[in-house]
């Protein structure tokens, strides 16, 4: 055992020396902070690969500012406190210029103080619950008004839904999103009795009772829909149970905010045809940019079967924004990039341009897709223009008066328009 330990230490030391040697060429270091083991590995490993591909492509184009990019990959192992440690390692030891990473909100909350203290840059690519705007973080995923609310609007208008089941996994993203949705639905005149809220633990696998409850709730004579913020692995048994209990999308449609192409890959989608998902990107988007991206991705990963999804597009946008900003300001200096990035706009994969807003959220189109039997989504609806990410929801009384603007005179993430002071809500 001891010998093993020794050789491991020697190996690590050798590896450290190895990276030290290559640092002499002075590449720009890009940190990748995604879990490669543990429960979130299922989603985050793909994002790590997507980042490696983007960096590889950029290097083939000659890098940034004439320097090559060097990815620094760490594995926070789905362990939230470890995220903070690994972020510190990236910023202090590896001295990376920018970090792309995180998936769950709790991991993001865990690294926020580190990025603030060490003044780093984090690009966060996943749709999240909002109610946050931080100087060092750029949110390239959707805020609730860029995903949840347009999806509910679609169901109200096109499917004439009057009764709502808000089903979610029991943690911060679904709870906050459902709070916003509940307030929004009530503001649209939906009665308290017509909203059912249900939470389940992570990895919940026995959905018999809940699906049967949904069936009962849906038989009150009004059109019913399920708004699902169920996250991760629990989705597969949930959809299987829906299919088995014979709930079809024409009876009770389910619109999901965390189910994309990647999640459907582990599933026989035939019984799910017609159920919905709302995202800012689908692999089935019919544009030249998307076709190129998919081809590049499948060639990079070496498999025709691998799919692309919304957070990958968010990284694509975020990475290109960062590259464009660095080239614009001529340095990778953190403060210069943070000041220079607002207003930068790059092409997204759905045929338009996404711009970085002063609240560090971006503009995106919102798409609603129906699941097809081949595991892809058929886009049935999209917003007519781009939607600006709103950091602070207008439908929650405590955050309605807050705005965020990180440009020079204000430079505040939670400015209270009622009191006229920065720091309106304890964050």
């Amino acid at each position: 055992m001891n010998k093993l330990m020794k050789s491991a230490v020697i190996g690590l030391a050798a590896a450290a020396i190895g990276t030290g040697a290559s640092a002499e060429e002075d590449p720009i270091k890009v940190g990748i902070l995604h879990s490669l083991s543990g429960t979130m590995a299922i989603s985050e490993t793909t994002l790590k690969d997507a980042m490696l591909m983007l960096i590889d492509e950029q290097n083939k184009k000659g890098g940034v500012l004439g320097r090559q990019l060097e990815p620094v990959v760490v594995d926070p192992a789905s362990d939230w406190p470890l995220f903070a440690e690994k972020a510190r390692e990236l910023l202090e030891v590896e001295k990376v210029d920018v970090v792309f990473g995180n998936w769950t909100s709790v991991s993001r909350k865990s690294v926020l103080p580190v990025f603030e203290e060490l003044n780093g840059i984090l690009f966060y690519p996943v749709q999240y619950e909002g109610e946050e705007s931080q100087r060092n973080v750029f949110y390239t995923g959707a805020a609730p008004n860029q995903q949840a609310i347009p999806a509910v609007d679609y169901l109200m208008a096109e499917e004439e839904v009057e009764r709502w089941v808000l089903a979610g996994t029991d943690y911060v993203y679904p709870r906050t999103t459902n709070k916003i949705l509940e307030a929004y639905l009530k503001s649209k005149g939906v009665a308290e009795d017509d909203i059912m809220i249900n939470y389940t633990p992570f990895g919940h696998s026995d959905w018999q009772t809940i699906v049967s409850d949904i069936k009962t709730f849906g038989s009150a004579g009004k059109k019913t829909a399920v708004v699902s913020t169920i996250n991760g692995d629990a989705n597969v048994p949930f959809y299987k149970e829906l299919g088995n209990q014979g709930i079809s999308a024409t009876d009770i449609p389910v619109v999901a905010f965390s189910v994309g192409e990647e999640e459907l890959a582990g599933l026989d989608t035939a019984p799910l045809v017609g159920h919905l998902a709302a995202w800012n990107y689908f692999m089935s988007v019919d544009t030249e940019e998307n076709e190129e991206f998919i081809e590049a991705w499948q060639a990079f990963i070496g498999s025709e079967d691998r799919v692309t999804n919304d957070p990958m597009e968010a990284h694509y946008i975020g990475f290109n924004m960062w590259v464009k900003t660095v080239e614009k300001v001529g340095t990778t200096d953190v403060d210069a990039v943070i000041d220079g990035i607002v207003g930068v706009s790059v092409p997204n994969l759905s045929g338009g341009y996404s711009a970085m807003m002063p609240n560090h959220h971006i503009t995106k189109p919102v798409l609603v897709g129906e699941i097809q039997d081949d595991g892809q989504f058929d886009i049935v609806w999209e917003t007519s223009g781009l939607v600006v990410g709103d950091a602070w929801s207008d439908y929650l009384p405590e955050s309605a008066p807050l705005i965020s603007d990180w440009r020079a005179p204000m430079s505040c993430g939670n400015f209270n328009t009622e009191t006229g002071a920065c720091g309106g809500l304890a964050n």
Binding site: L36, S37, G38, T39, A41, I42, T45, T46, E158, E159, E160, D170, N198, Y199, T200, P201, G203, H204, S205, D206, Q208, T209, I210, S212, D213, K215, T216, S219, A220, G221, D233, V236, P237, K240, E241, G243, N244, Q245, G246, A249, T250, P253, E262, E263, A265, G266, L267, D268, P271, G274, D286, E291, E370, Q372, D378, I379, V380, W381
Partner: protein
Amino acid sequence: MARALVISIFLTLGLMGGAIAQSPDQSPDQSPVQSQSLGQLVAKLPDGGYDDRAEIVHQIAATGDPRAIGILEALSEGDIRQLKSDKSVVRVEKGGAGYLLFDPVTGDALGEVKRRGAKKVKVNNGLRREIAAALGAMTLMSANPDRRLSAAQNAFATGNPEQIPALDAALEAETVKEIQIALLDARAASVMQSDLPVTEKIAALDRLAARGDRDALSIIIAAASDPDPVVAEAAASAQADVERVRAMWSNAQNVWYGLSLGSVLMLAAIGLAISFGVMGVINMAHGELVMLGAYATYMVQEVIRTSAPHLFEYSLLFALPIAFCLSGGVGVAIERGVCRWLYGRPLETLLATWGVSLILQQTVRSIFGPTNKEVGNPDWMSGAFEIGQLSITYNRLWIFVFALVVFASLLLILKKTPIGLQMRAVTQNRRMADAMGVKTGWVDAMTFGLGAGIAGLAGVALSQIDNVSPNLGQGYIVDSFMVVVFGGVGNLWGALAGAFTLGVVNKFLEPYAGAVLAKVLVLVFIILFIQRRPRGLFALRGRAVES
């Protein structure tokens, strides 16, 4: 919208007799809507939004042309597409370099096109419902009984009062009992929305109350707020009756859900009941052995898919022995490589096997990738059937049966075979067994391997209801220990009773407390129970306990 549908129904039925035999193109004088040929209507499908498309769907249905059924079905399936090259509308089938093209009306082959060459005519749930309703009206008199049945069920779902004459006509012609019932139900549902006299409505309410399912209940609830007090009163009393019966059934349903959850728990736990219960080894890698079984199923299905797709229905049967051997083999390796050196040191065993579990997880992740693997359900594992109002899904039923079979075989092995005798001998008195010539080391390995192999079998079953991912095992390890500790260490019957008790208790708590709190309450319940009975439900007595 509804009016257009109704007109279409009348037209369809009116035409059913003779006109349908002729092609509508040759008889343009029948009605104004028919002046547009099917081809022209189909060509207009890609234009406009969903509402415009629904309008065209109704016009297509209104032509009364028998070919309209095929067109609407293809549209609903998403097989109607528009070519990007010349904007013509075609029906597609997968094949060739992308899609094979057919004329939607005549069915003539039109060559093929690349995957991105044809744009789908978009269909959403709302439009799919309209198509189903339109098809329902067209197929009420179909020659195919299955078609007629689904048409009748569709008519029930829409409950449109203006389809009553059509339903009456269909009822007169109908000879199949099952379809007659469906038609009568559909008629009752339609009557409730019509302005027919009160007596008709009361009769319809009786019919719906007798049907007594969720859909009927929702119609009855709607009728309870009817402006006519007689109808409203009858509806209210019908509602009370139906709800009383349903409450009874819902208890039965909860018991079944509980038994089903219990069977899953038992499958996961019973292997542990051997290694932990009989041998006293705390095996934290047990969940990963379950996961290996699930991956074995995945691999078997992959091989079958590529080399012998006709055997897919039996894939699970092939997977069983392979999963048993794979997990069993890994189990023997764990016992020989790790546990053997740590007997009598439970804490070290716990840590070592936990390490093994991480190694197994990461190995699988490295080989198969972190994403979920799709394990298909054979047809006999999909869908549900109803006993009274109890809806039972086939996959849960088969897993329940499978769990009992595994349990029975395990008992048989332990009680009736020489190796079972030796296992019991070694557990009860190792030194005596050793003195009698039993190779205790070998028996230990076999016992552990048996427990691990059964975990593999559980993996095959769980692959049908859960994710096949490297994390599969983690979700079950704690529950499994709970079952074994609660049921009584060292006793297979304890595991059986423990699993089913926990399953049923959990399922009765869940509707009231929610899934999260129900789990917490069950855990509290077990802690209190263990305080009272430290040796679990079925405590072993006698010398074996002391050693």
